[in-house]
């Protein structure tokens, strides 16, 4: 399947800022399930702002990281991504992905993914009597989908997995954080993945900027689990970067210098260009 992606992130400041520094993970991952046909990331500022491209490099997780700075005064920054990717359904298996971080490193939680007793119990109950990492991960994803009902607007960027579970509602970020924490509590390396989803049928468009989890399955390697939709990522998905939680895997990590308050607006459209 060939997907076209349009992804705009707009930062607005109520007062001119002195500058902005960003660390971007906005390029699709390189693995057998996807091939980039065309990909452009463009950063624009308002008049007076000067964009200075930073260094780029591939990190140990296999992600392309690109630094970018904006020299102020700046009141608005637009990060605009346009691209076309050919995807293949590998049933979630991250085949042919080159990375150097050992899976054991992903046995360490962050505050956002750390399992409390609720999440640990859920993980235990969901996998009781189930052998094999793959089946256990499937069972986990199912249990999380049930325990955290999809509902936008109730959680926010800083909500932890444990909090979302207690609330019983959340969005894809919460599902992914919870999946990571639950898997780790069972001794399975797991991580958070950010990317895009071409929503099928009447899928919610805001979930086009999507997130899911990957669990390490011996013999298969990393396998994606999208607890929000109860599936493994297929050719409707485009994988970008990974990290131990939502913050680490964020497509853009940034900081603005100055007195102003920031407002962020994200628009993503993923469309099928060709079946």
């Amino acid at each position: 399947m060939i997907l076209t992606i349009a992804h705009d992130t707009v930062y607005r400041y109520d007062q001119p800022m002195r500058g902005v520094v960003q660390s971007q993970r906005l390029t699709p991952a390189r693995f057998d399930g996807q091939r980039v046909i065309d990909w452009v990331v463009e950063v624009r500022g308002d008049d007076g702002a000067q964009i200075v491209q930073g260094g780029g490099f591939r990190d140990g997780a296999g992600d392309w990281v690109q630094g970018c700075t904006v020299v102020g005064p700046v009141r608005e920054v637009v990060v605009s991504v346009r691209g076309m990717v050919e995807t293949t359904n590998l049933s979630g298996v991250l085949r042919g992905h080159r990375e150097r971080i050992r899976p054991e490193v992903y046995l360490t939680c962050t505050p956002a993914t750390a399992a409390d007793s609720g999440l640990r119990d859920l993980a235990q109950d969901a996998t009781v009597g189930i052998g094999g990492a793959l089946d256990r991960a499937h069972a986990l994803a199912g249990a999380i989908r049930k325990a955290i009902v999809y509902r936008p607007g109730v959680t926010e960027a800083h909500t932890t997995a444990a909090e979302a579970l207690a609330l019983g509602e959340g969005v894809c970020q919460d599902h992914a954080n919870a999946m990571v924490g639950a898997a780790i509590s069972l001794g399975m390396p797991a991580r958070y993945v950010s990317g895009y989803l071409q929503a099928t049928e009447d899928g919610a468009p805001h979930e086009a900027a999507h997130a899911w989890a990957e669990v390490w399955v011996p013999d298969l390697g990393w396998v994606g689990f999208d607890a929000s939709n109860g599936v493994c990522p297929d050719d409707h998905y485009v994988r970008q970067g990974s990290g131990r939680d939502a913050r680490e895997a964020a497509p853009i990590r940034g900081i603005a210098r100055g007195p102003g308050r920031e407002e962020m607006d994200v628009k993503v459209a993923v469309e099928v260009a060709q079946q």
Binding site: V21, V52, G60, G67, T69, R102, R253, I255
Partner: protein, 472 residues
């Protein structure tokens, strides 16, 4: 190694050992009045230059002076040569280990170091995986804490691969001794230590990043004036003739890091940082940190700046990894370790834990991630209550503790109220790793000022001495 037969570095079977020969007369000739005069002068000098060591968690004056003992600690040339080879060997092996565990992890694959101890270590930085810092060096200043138990017996207590402090004491102690007793330095051929700052500058310059094609600009990054080692940060910056900066003085623009100066931004090539990993860059590590520089890690990893020591260097110096350093020496260098490790029990393993709990009153127990002598039990010196309360802590999280036999630390003559008496000492030399691996002939000798005490940490009432290496 246990027992009460301490090795006295000055007297052996009633006779003065070679390196201390000159000091016997010096000590004998010094009238009590002169001694107190000199002691007062030394204190005045320390106070004037402002060298203090803040002490955490003890109350009182955090800016109090570190006790300075005027009686030097002396090594003969041949004694030092062996130590030097041992420390350099260790610094090389530790760096080889770091380069390995952030690349293919051969030592783990070979089954010599447990996987989890490395990859699940708190100090392991995923952000460093696959990145090779200039010259492959991760830890540019390695402080190796040594104790001596006999004429030829030295043991490594711990390694410090992050940003070991205390080198300013090595330099200031010498400076002050030379002012107080210029005659001593005429009568004895004492190897100078003042080349340290130039060696440090050269070491840092030698690891300039790939994108630097000029004489590199070096800075020292400090968390600020409230840090206990701030004096040292400014002292070293002065000696090297480089800027001392805080995070807010630096910023990232494009592919480089810049320093704000009165003449406009100046590019920075090498950052000797004296802040912890977690605070280096809020975009990569702790997002709430105001001490670091946003975007610094991206510049570093794309070759625009060098950070010394590399983030994640701490995985080589934790007390659990310590046990494997002799193995690292064999694995990476194909040599036998010159310096020995202290036998160590890992409370995280059932067998060791059983032994430790059964022998607590005779062991030294330390926290794996602790430092500065806090969270430490010295069995033979502890009360019954202290031992029992430690037992509870160990049982609660055994993996957090290691135990070692109580070492018979050597003693060195020390000025005390009653005259001169032996006190226990240790030694921290500072090995520099860049294009070359070098060790200035000297180090920081810490002395437990309390009679019988084996804890030399400044936070626990330890003092310092000038450390001499005699040249032939």
């Amino acid at each position: 190694m246990t027992g009460q037969a301490f090795f006295n570095e000055m007297y052996e079977s009633g006779r003065v050992r070679g390196p201390y020969r000159q000091l016997e007369d010096w000590m004998g000739d010094m009238p009590a009045e002169l001694r107190s005069l000199k002691q007062a002068e030394a204190e005045e000098l320390f106070r004037r230059i402002g060298i203090t060591f803040a002490v955490y968690g003890e109350g009182g004056d955090p800016e109090r002076l570190m006790p300075f003992d005027m009686f030097p600690r002396v090594f003969a040339q041949d004694e030092w040569r062996r130590l030097e080879r041992g420390v350099i060997q260790r610094a090389k092996a530790l760096n080889a280990f770091l380069a390995d565990v952030y690349a293919r992890g051969e030592i783990v694959r070979a089954g010599l170091v447990p996987r989890d101890l490395v990859y699940r270590n708190e100090a392991y930085e995923a952000a460093m995986v696959g990145f090779t810092p200039p010259r492959g060096v991760f830890s540019h200043i390695v402080g190796v804490d040594l104790v001596r138990t006999g004429p030829d017996e030295f043991f490594v207590l711990e390694d410090n691969c992050r940003t070991p402090s205390g080198v300013s004491y090595m330099l200031e102690n010498r400076e002050i001794m030379m002012r107080l007793f210029p005659g001593l330095f005429r009568e004895n051929r004492i190897a100078p230590v003042d080349s340290y700052s130039e060696e440090l500058r050269r070491t840092l310059a030698s690891v300039a990043p790939p994108k630097c094609e000029r004489d590199p600009t070096i800075v020292i990054l400090t968390p600020g004036a409230y840090n206990s080692a701030y004096y040292e940060h400014s002292f070293l910056a002065d000696l090297m003739g480089v800027e001392l900066v805080e995070g807010q003085d630096l910023f990232v623009e494009g592919e480089y890091v810049w320093m704000r100066t009165t003449e406009g931004p100046q590019r920075v090539d090498v950052i000797y940082r004296r802040i912890d990993d977690a605070f280096i860059d809020p975009l990569c590590f702790r997002p709430d940190s105001m001490l670091g520089v946003p975007g610094l890690m991206d510049v570093y990893r794309s070759g625009g700046v060098t950070i010394c020591s590399a983030p994640g260097a701490g995985v080589a110096d934790d007390k659990a990894i310590y046990c494997f350093v002799p193995e690292m020496v064999r694995f990476y260098l194909g040599e036998e370790p010159i310096l020995q490790n202290v036998p160590t029990w890992q409370c995280g393993t059932a067998e060791d834990l059983k032994y430790v709990l059964a022998h607590l009153p005779e062991l030294v127990v330390k926290e794996v991630h602790g430092s500065g002598g806090y969270g430490m039990l010295v069995g033979p010196k502890a009360t019954r209550e202290q031992v029992e309360s430690f037992r509870v802590r160990i049982e609660e999280s055994p993996g957090n503790y290691i135990a070692q036999p109580t070492l018979s630390l050597s003693t060195c003559p020390t000025f005390v109220d009653e005259g001169v008496a032996p006190r226990h000492v240790d030694l921290r030399p500072y090995c520099l790793v860049g294009e070359r691996v070098t060790l200035v002939p000297g180090g920081l000798t810490r002395v437990a000022m309390k009679e019988g005490s084996l804890v030399v940490n400044s936070s626990q009432g330890g003092g310092v001495k000038d450390t001499w290496v005699l040249s032939e």
